[in-house]
Symmetry: D3
Amino acid sequence: MKQKTVTFGEIMMRLTPERYLRFTQADRLEAVFGGGEANVAVSLAQFGMDAVFVTKLPEHELGQAAVNYLRGQGVDTRYILRGDGRLGLYYLERGAAQRPGKVIYDRKDSAFALSEWEEYDWEAILEGAGWLHVTGITPALSPQTERMTESLLKLAKEKGITVSFDPNYRQKLWSLEKAKAVTERLLPYVDVCLTGLQGNAVLGIADAAPEETAKRLVSRYGFSHVALTMRQSRSASDNGWSAMLYQDGRAYYSRQYEMHLVDRVGGGDAFAAGLIYGLQNGFDGQHAIEFAAAAGCLKHTVEGDANQITAEEAEALAAGSGDGRVQR
Amino acid sequence: MKQKTVTFGEIMMRLTPERYLRFTQADRLEAVFGGGEANVAVSLAQFGMDAVFVTKLPEHELGQAAVNYLRGQGVDTRYILRGDGRLGLYYLERGAAQRPGKVIYDRKDSAFALSEWEEYDWEAILEGAGWLHVTGITPALSPQTERMTESLLKLAKEKGITVSFDPNYRQKLWSLEKAKAVTERLLPYVDVCLTGLQGNAVLGIADAAPEETAKRLVSRYGFSHVALTMRQSRSASDNGWSAMLYQDGRAYYSRQYEMHLVDRVGGGDAFAAGLIYGLQNGFDGQHAIEFAAAAGCLKHTVEGDANQITAEEAEALAAGSGDGRVQR
Amino acid sequence: MKQKTVTFGEIMMRLTPERYLRFTQADRLEAVFGGGEANVAVSLAQFGMDAVFVTKLPEHELGQAAVNYLRGQGVDTRYILRGDGRLGLYYLERGAAQRPGKVIYDRKDSAFALSEWEEYDWEAILEGAGWLHVTGITPALSPQTERMTESLLKLAKEKGITVSFDPNYRQKLWSLEKAKAVTERLLPYVDVCLTGLQGNAVLGIADAAPEETAKRLVSRYGFSHVALTMRQSRSASDNGWSAMLYQDGRAYYSRQYEMHLVDRVGGGDAFAAGLIYGLQNGFDGQHAIEFAAAAGCLKHTVEGDANQITAEEAEALAAGSGDGRVQR
Amino acid sequence: MKQKTVTFGEIMMRLTPERYLRFTQADRLEAVFGGGEANVAVSLAQFGMDAVFVTKLPEHELGQAAVNYLRGQGVDTRYILRGDGRLGLYYLERGAAQRPGKVIYDRKDSAFALSEWEEYDWEAILEGAGWLHVTGITPALSPQTERMTESLLKLAKEKGITVSFDPNYRQKLWSLEKAKAVTERLLPYVDVCLTGLQGNAVLGIADAAPEETAKRLVSRYGFSHVALTMRQSRSASDNGWSAMLYQDGRAYYSRQYEMHLVDRVGGGDAFAAGLIYGLQNGFDGQHAIEFAAAAGCLKHTVEGDANQITAEEAEALAAGSGDGRVQR
Amino acid sequence: MKQKTVTFGEIMMRLTPERYLRFTQADRLEAVFGGGEANVAVSLAQFGMDAVFVTKLPEHELGQAAVNYLRGQGVDTRYILRGDGRLGLYYLERGAAQRPGKVIYDRKDSAFALSEWEEYDWEAILEGAGWLHVTGITPALSPQTERMTESLLKLAKEKGITVSFDPNYRQKLWSLEKAKAVTERLLPYVDVCLTGLQGNAVLGIADAAPEETAKRLVSRYGFSHVALTMRQSRSASDNGWSAMLYQDGRAYYSRQYEMHLVDRVGGGDAFAAGLIYGLQNGFDGQHAIEFAAAAGCLKHTVEGDANQITAEEAEALAAGSGDGRVQR
Amino acid sequence: MKQKTVTFGEIMMRLTPERYLRFTQADRLEAVFGGGEANVAVSLAQFGMDAVFVTKLPEHELGQAAVNYLRGQGVDTRYILRGDGRLGLYYLERGAAQRPGKVIYDRKDSAFALSEWEEYDWEAILEGAGWLHVTGITPALSPQTERMTESLLKLAKEKGITVSFDPNYRQKLWSLEKAKAVTERLLPYVDVCLTGLQGNAVLGIADAAPEETAKRLVSRYGFSHVALTMRQSRSASDNGWSAMLYQDGRAYYSRQYEMHLVDRVGGGDAFAAGLIYGLQNGFDGQHAIEFAAAAGCLKHTVEGDANQITAEEAEALAAGSGDGRVQR
């Protein structure tokens, strides 16, 4: 029987000036909802998986809007807490060509960041769960979320739930030292480690080739799988993209994509969802990494934080040419 | 020589769903800047006055956008501090007919709320100032702003600067008891008291007629002027509106307006700016209250928090019929 | 234990030119989803009820968008069929003042209209259901839906489920004679009859006063409840609105609302949902009709086909003044 | 056989800030085309008449856009000249409630204003024409257009073409004295005089009642018909509206409309088109004025300068209640 | 004397989510009109040709909007029938990078598809015509249109009118077998065959080089001209593009364009119009194919189904560098 | 002490169809303000410089909007005249791929073009100025501006103010001969000459390599600095870009950028501002040209005529990789 996947983290409202306007030029902001773990849940639900997103949101209407969004995507929202506190926000300015995108976080003291372990009904949440996914953003938000992340990973481990983790270091949230220390405590509970090749400083490995990086991580932390994305940031408008999965002592490489970007955010989350889907559905190594890389690639062509693609679409790209011909 | 008017408070970004969409329906938010004291400064600058707005804003680009907005309106922004902290926000859902508008505040711990008296160069700020305007929102924001408001009113009084104050009670910011206690400490420094007739519970007077209300306030606090707005909220789409000025023992009533609303917010601030303009320019009582009421009325036809009208436009309405004929 | 409410009908995409543009002026169309029974389900879900909407939608992405919309609103969509066929559409041109709104239907041969009784799992759908709501639009769509409506009402009756029905005659869908004949066959299964006072020609009663109308309907068809809405269409921009509930031989009248309209469509559905909510929650007659009338009134201030209000908001209007003051 | 109607004048691009934004708040302008005589031609074409609009437009793409617009509306554009010069513009700021709309003209030295009589092929233009319509704006634009208007009216008279004229005085274009002097020269060629009751100072009659005004005009200038619109400008949002036709010594009054305005501009032109249509189609006096008044009323509910209604729609309002019920 | 060109087919409303939004993300749809033969007529009219588009459209306002659009573009619409039936639609989701564009057709049972040969006044339509253009979409729509296409080609042939045909196979409309069988019946009447090199399976030739393809077609069907477009679909955002004309036993190749796409749809129609223009105006082979290829290339930079360029613009690109410098 | 920079010229409203719509497709125009010298002032103000823009604008609200824009950007607007006359306009159609952008000027007889030397208070304007920047557009506008430009350059020279000049030839404004003759009279007063390598025909040098061009200019006119931009216009969507500074007999080349364009206009002005900033702040030759080239490059990623970047952003690009990674 298919088991549910649980993700735990913060969902924010993202506010983006229209088109390529700069923050100082904007008088209208596009509002979408996103956050690493929420994005993964949304992707999985669209692949037809049973995906549960756990968080705490303010009681007010914008908190409700976040619930409605998730619910509309097919995510199981029944364990989302509602209560006092604010909605985490982030402002995103799209980059273009040589001008990088910019993020202004305004997520401090959100309802989620201030929530406590005891508020959640963990037994119910994890009942029937086969997989748990968390990113390194969750423990970075507050002492509370740091403690909860560790407790949750531990509890999942005890229950035999597979744990995937994406360190996802954000320098605007915490220092590298702090991030390293906390991550170090979490990794022993992790089965599947996903990370961008360039962003794994928090794992203490830098500048190594993909396979070498994976080997070192496996030997150090005993991961069953390491999945790496390799992004070539040619400009804010064009990126190269590929990925590697390391399992059972062997590395599987996806093909390489050259992407003209629609929305850069959430590529890693879409990749993670693709990989979780592949591993849960028993794809072999090559199939799994091609599927995950294709899912991640397609995210870059979709507006918003979360992917909006079906499993069929990811398969079609993984199997096809990516020539983008109109389907009619 | 014309003297400058100083206002002190918070300017927020206001985020409003398009048209009459509810918060749960919005995927685009209109972004404008506003706040009681900032709105007054903007109005005065458009009337051709020398208006200084004092606040603290975050260092980031959205803080800059607020400065650019004020600067563009002709407000003197040279004393605005920049630094750490967040930008105060509020979300506004437009009301329509029987459905009331809704405000969600997200302004806690803003850069301004956490700023301290010593950060501002008060001597420079008040040099050449003839008038100071503050509302009851400023002391409501934090212990720091509560202390600063009292210090500032005291200092202004010492320097012989005319002080106008609008209690502007907001139940989502503080309790009525707390508001009353703080306001009580501030009122001795106030010369000109402006308030909505229905909103003056914080002044300890309720349900009295306008003239009687003014008399009691004058006898209790020694104000030189009391200006009251009388709003008849027929629905979220249509309001009645008039005002009264009490000075030298005499009450002056403006005419009555029936308004089809474009934007309800900031009517009181526009009125305050009109009155300050009239009093500074030596208008007689009747002229002053007609000008202020017309300025306030016109605000209800202008989108955003702050008025966008010239003194000529307010005069034209005060003197004319309000028949709204196209000018061509 | 609270029982679920089932509604059965078509959900269409509604395409509306922006603002007050005429069809011949439009180059952008606002797209929302709506349909009588879907609107009722959405309203009930927002009131916190367990609401199931049953229909058939095309397999393609726009069919999915309709499901996502309903799911996001909290409606139980698990019994919605997907398959071949087209998505029903209607084009709406907003009216203004003396210019009436216009509807162009393009819903012929939709996936729902062509669906068959055997495709649906009626036993599962009705299990745990305490209430069924259908409008006269469903049987008007095709011979299939005509047959299914009758079968469904009959089945509900057999299972002791309360049945509410709104004849909702649409001359662009079928002739009055045909409508009358079909409605006549359905009414014996109906417990609660809802209709606009002016639109009940299909019930064979015209030009009678509300109470008289209700009495005749009760005596003719044995309804337990008759609920009538009384709309005074002063113009496309302004309507009067009130309602009457007739139960146990007594008429309860709501207060009268004068509404400046944001969106005219779906007022009757919002009223129906309000009444169903009130009756299911044991409101007394006066409370039920005030709640339902307030819910219907608020719909006219909300864009789209379906209401977007909570039970608290309807209660607040039912109990309050409707003065539309900003809540801050 | 139905004869064509010729109108001669300037068509401008009208640039309007979105919603109710003031000029100083706008960063997007809605662009439509309009001008008194063009509006009349567009209305007539929609009524199914053969309508010719004559003007000169710049060679560039925006001149082409104006042609495309007219052509799309069914207006005969074959006599429109193209050449050097600029496109006339006007900026319109929508009024709301007590705030009047504002027009900024930027039409000086347009291609049309600088065009000369000899450039047009008048014989071809007037061949088969039964009616000529011009407003007082055309002669106000330049010495060239002043001369051409007189020549054209004279030529039409010689050819036995019915001439209608709307003085349409605009103080931003010329002085009252100049307007009076020129109008005085034109009126002898006019058969049908249309004007707003309040705007006929240019005709030397002020403050007279409608019938009296018409009588004086007829006796002074020998018009066969005088048609007056009576607007009560209650505010920029709400107007009263009715009209009177005086012919054969008798006055026919339309019913009175209370209009909530969508777009105030072009009401007089829509009325003129309605009247021309009625008179050309042999409507009796009462029918003609009701049709024209209804057409004018409906224009106030339509965005843009020109009406967008069919003859059936005007008839329906003239005959109906104006209750604005949705047609479905 | 220049003779008119007649095209016969369906014009649909195309509904496209804004920007790169997916169908499931859209709440606003951009509405334009398009269809193969209509696009060709629009292009020709903009080149200054006399172009007639023949179809049947619904009586309602959206049918009128389609007529207005065509008329505005300068197309002769006098032979367009109006009557019962629906407006054909298609939904287009823009592709981006590796994500292909998607089309959902909703054109079944349109007024055109259900129209009959006898409804059209073919003698009047073809009087003065020198060229007829049809695509393979027209016969694919219904048995009626299949029959009419054959009749029309036959009639044109009899009248000595040059016939151009673009097979334009759409798998969502009919099967390849059916398409082949019908096309086979039509080709004997065709003089000029236009097709995409990759899309000519319906002609029974696949995987041959351009010149070889053309030769085979000529030898098999006796075409006077074969024109092929060669598209390299590198992604949904970037395409290569060139074309070849085969006439009098000789092949003429255009230069190669690398295009960053604005709107992929209608490139073939724009090319067809370019070729028809060139051949009608006696361009030599090289000139004709360069002009047509340039026209087709420019279409990819223009939003909507139909090209919006003048003959001068196509000539400028055919003759120039395509360096896209601003013209100022 | 830092000295102010003065620029003198026209600021226009620029009206641009949305997205890539052609002029004939637009019904909404984006409105921004721009003009060569104004753009330079805006850039400098954002770099933290004291920048004064001198012009004359109409008294009306759109003139005020231009002032507000400049003021908001931090430009010193106190010397801007207001008075009769029109606002200069230009219409911009964005190019895409092989389709070039198009400009329609409508700036004749603007308030600025008709203004006279005596209206400006030159002594006050130039007091404290260390730098003056003008482009060749200013003298091209009218005989008045031609005379004023010469007078101003002469006066600046007398006062020892550094003069920078960008010939910026526009064929739609004047003939090459006229431009050459006037420019020849102005160059003796110029210290720093900035120009596009391809656009310097007006300087009488064509087709020379950058360094050779600079040498000839220096030897002919005695410039202290020559700065050249080298643009490779690959298409309207993609350009190459680099620059060279020649000073003290030595050429400094920036690195080469490949840019995917957001907004092509104003690249030269942004470069000029970058160079003026670098030279005023004592950057060495290589630093100055890298900074200026980076500033110019970034402009191509920013919507509107003027750059919206800080000095830090230009430095970051000049020093970094331009890989456009999101900053979070």
